[in-house]
């Protein structure tokens, strides 16, 4: 089967006043439909860089990225925007909700850009909020009146609302207690069972345990679980950098 995500030999070099930073050094990764993939790695290893590329927010310096069979590098800015609106859902580490807008308005925001008819929006937002089990009385609260766990559930509902093929989540449970975190993760596994492809970034091995597959990223290079274990066995000190 054609992988939903297929990146090959991707490099990303940042240019800044301080010089060049080679954040990704030839990364190749395939993710199948209905797979829950976990990416682990120490701070500064290039996780967010990879995530931005997978989310079509950033483009690789070299290498190819096929999303659902389409070559992303040939798309125009507007086509990339449409892809983000309709095929991708983001869950950011810092939630990134509009603080003064209501919960419903926040969840409906992506629908504004995917040309969803106005009449359908509320219903779809409510369905997404039910999927993350946010109690109904909160729907009309402003998002800055919610707890961290509630905000994260709103952020996940926002990622779901357009019924995307791929959900990308950067440390979605980083700010949550373990019970709420488990609830969020079971939401992800249910979505995976419904056929969505989910990529999530984490530091936490317990979170990684929920995943179908885990890859490790070190200094801009990907390692499989086995390679990682082999590396750790050879030199246990590397673990401390995580």
């Amino acid at each position: 089967m054609l992988p939903v995500i297929d990146i090959r030999n991707v490099h990303r070099i940042y240019e800044s006043a301080a010089g060049y930073t080679h954040a990704l050094k030839g990364v190749s990764l395939q993710v199948q439909r209905g797979e829950l993939l976990c990416i682990m790695g120490p701070s500064g290893s290039g996780k967010s860089t990879l995530m931005n590329i997978l989310g079509c927010l950033d483009t690789p310096t070299s290498g190819t990225f096929m999303l659902e069979g389409a070559d992303v590098s040939t798309l125009t800015d507007d086509e990339l925007a449409e892809l983000r609106a309709t095929r991708l859902g983001f869950v950011f580490q810092s939630f990134n909700l509009l603080p003064h807008a209501t919960v419903l308005r926040n969840v409906m925001l992506p629908l504004v850009y995917s040309d969803c008819p106005v009449g359908e929006r509320r219903e779809r937002a409510v369905r997404a909020l039910r999927a993350v089990s946010l109690p109904e009385p909160y729907y009309d609260h402003r998002s800055n009146e919610l707890s961290g766990g509630q905000m994260q559930r709103v952020a996940i509902a926002r990622a779901l609302v357009n019924d995307p093929a791929v959900i990308l989540a950067d440390e979605p449970t980083g700010n949550l207690d373990s019970a709420t975190g488990d609830m969020v993760l079971s939401t992800f596994t249910r979505l995976r069972d419904e056929g969505k492809t989910i990529v999530l970034i984490t530091h936490d091995p317990e979170v990684a345990a929920w995943a179908d597959r885990t890859v490790h990223i070190r200094d801009g290079r990907l390692l499989t679980d086995e390679q990682e274990r082999a590396l750790l066995a050879a030199d246990p000190t590397v673990r401390s950098s995580t």
């Binding site: 931005n52 989310g55 927010l57 950033d58 800015d77 507007d78 925007a81 449409e82 892809l83 983000r84 609106a85 309709t86 983001f90 950011f92 990134n96 509009l98 003064h100 807008a101 925001l109 992506p110 504004v112 850009y113 995917s114 040309d115 106005v118 926002r158 357009n162």
Partner: protein
């Protein structure tokens, strides 16, 4: 992104910054206010001028001439024959007298005028009818009062006085008509007598003080002043050199031209004030929009990450600045219209047409409201475009990382 979404986003963004927005649009309010006040004022002046003018008044010509001797009625007849461009010429002699009614006694100005005078002036009566050629040739003791004189003598401008009499310097005249006056309560009264009656009874002198003419229907009003002057010079054998000082021909057209000249300098001044404050206002809008963009960098990054195109972001910020300007413009239109009432008091004194200052009511038309709104939209686009493009060009990854 649908129109409805754009409107919603704009509404909530403006709502969130209400206080700051109001301060920012002050420049626009002042600029548009000045433009509207000016146009409402000029519209009012023009309208009151047109209202003042009777049907004939556009064709009325006032002639002052001093050929070095008195002008007689015979001169007038001779001039009338030499000037076919006039339908008729009429004469007036001026005097003052003490007028007495059964109850009161006041000083009035008296004009001895031929019956044709009323036609030339396009005068209207509120009661009775003007005296005739028979009264003129019989030097009849008849008088026409204006409403102001009726007000002074009888206490009420609409008092029925036709058939009653008024004494001028002790001689009794029968009142045949009352002439409409634009401000009967404020001005002093005027009494009109037949020219011959005035000459024989009041002045003892048959000289013509003023000549007025009614131009023929097909006369060229733009050249009538100079042809009249030339004909007067040749008829009276006047010195060409001094003719400019001794002859003055005023058409209604020239009054309007003078007024227009005065207005256009006034207009120029107001336009300068308006454009400067619109420019300052526009820069204020731009500044606020740039601040807005900086404050909302994360929001912009988020919107882009959720699928907003650059054009969606441009539209959103552009509409915001256009709305700001239009709100400023609408406030400015209201402020300007109210302000023009204050200005009419000022302008009423400057504008003194036909001896009586006309009451001016500011006039505002749909056209100038639409134009003011259009200017606001234009300013919004002009000064909002750069900030909007800046927002649209932001890199989503950088924007999301922005603290």
């Amino acid at each position: 992104m649908r129109i409805r979404d754009l409107v919603y986003e704009t509404g909530s963004a403006l709502d969130a910054n209400r206080g700051r927005s109001l301060l920012t649009i002050l420049g626009i309010v002042i600029g548009i206010g000045a433009v509207i006040a000016m146009t409402a004022l000029i519209g009012g002046i023009k309208q009151s001028l047109v209202g003042e003018m009777g049907l004939n008044q556009a064709r009325m010509v006032y002639i002052y001439c001093w050929p070095g001797r008195d002008i007689t009625l015979d001169d007038l007849t001779a001039l009338e024959q030499r000037m076919p461009e006039y339908e008729c010429l009429t004469a007036a002699s001026l005097a003052n007298a003490k007028a007495t009614s059964p109850t009161k006694s006041v000083d009035v100005s008296v004009e001895g005028v031929l019956p044709s005078y009323f036609k030339v002036m396009g005068a209207k009566t509120t009661q009775g009818s003007f005296y005739t050629d028979e009264d003129e040739s019989a030097s009849a003791l008849v008088a026409v009062l204006d409403q102001a004189a009726v007000h002074q003598l009888f206490g009420n401008p609409d008092e029925p006085v036709v058939g009653k009499s008024v004494q001028l310097n002790g001689v009794s005249y029968g009142i045949v008509a009352v002439m409409e006056s634009s401000s009967p309560m404020s001005s002093n009264g005027t009494v009109w007598l037949p020219f011959s009656t005035c000459a024989s009874r009041l002045t003892g002198n048959w000289a013509v003080n003023d000549i007025s003419g009614l131009a023929a229907e097909d006369a060229d009003m733009s050249t009538i002043a100079s042809t009249t002057k030339d004909k007067l010079v040749s008829y009276f054998n006047m010195d060409e050199e001094t003719a400019d000082e001794d002859i003055y021909v005023q058409t209604m057209q020239s009054v309007i031209d003078e007024l227009d000249a005065m207005m256009s300098s006034f207009q120029l001044m107001m336009t300068a004030v308006a454009s400067i404050s619109l420019l300052v206002g526009g820069i204020g809008i731009m500044n606020m929009m740039l601040t807005n963009v900086t404050e909302r960098i994360r929001e912009i990054g988020l919107r882009k990450a959720l699928g907003a195109r650059s054009s969606d972001i441009t539209k959103q910020f552009l509409l915001e600045s256009v709305c700001l300007c239009v709100v400023g413009g609408v406030i400015g239109i209201v402020v300007g219209y109210l302000g023009s009432f204050a200005l009419t008091g000022l302008a009423g004194g400057m504008l003194d047409v036909g001896g009586e200052s006309a009451a001016i009511v500011p006039v505002i038309d749909v056209q100038s409201v639409l134009m003011a709104t259009g200017i606001c939209v234009l300013i919004g686009i002009l000064f909002g475009y750069y900030p909007a493009r800046r927002a649209a060009r932001l890199d989503p990854v950088e924007s999301l990382r922005y603290q």
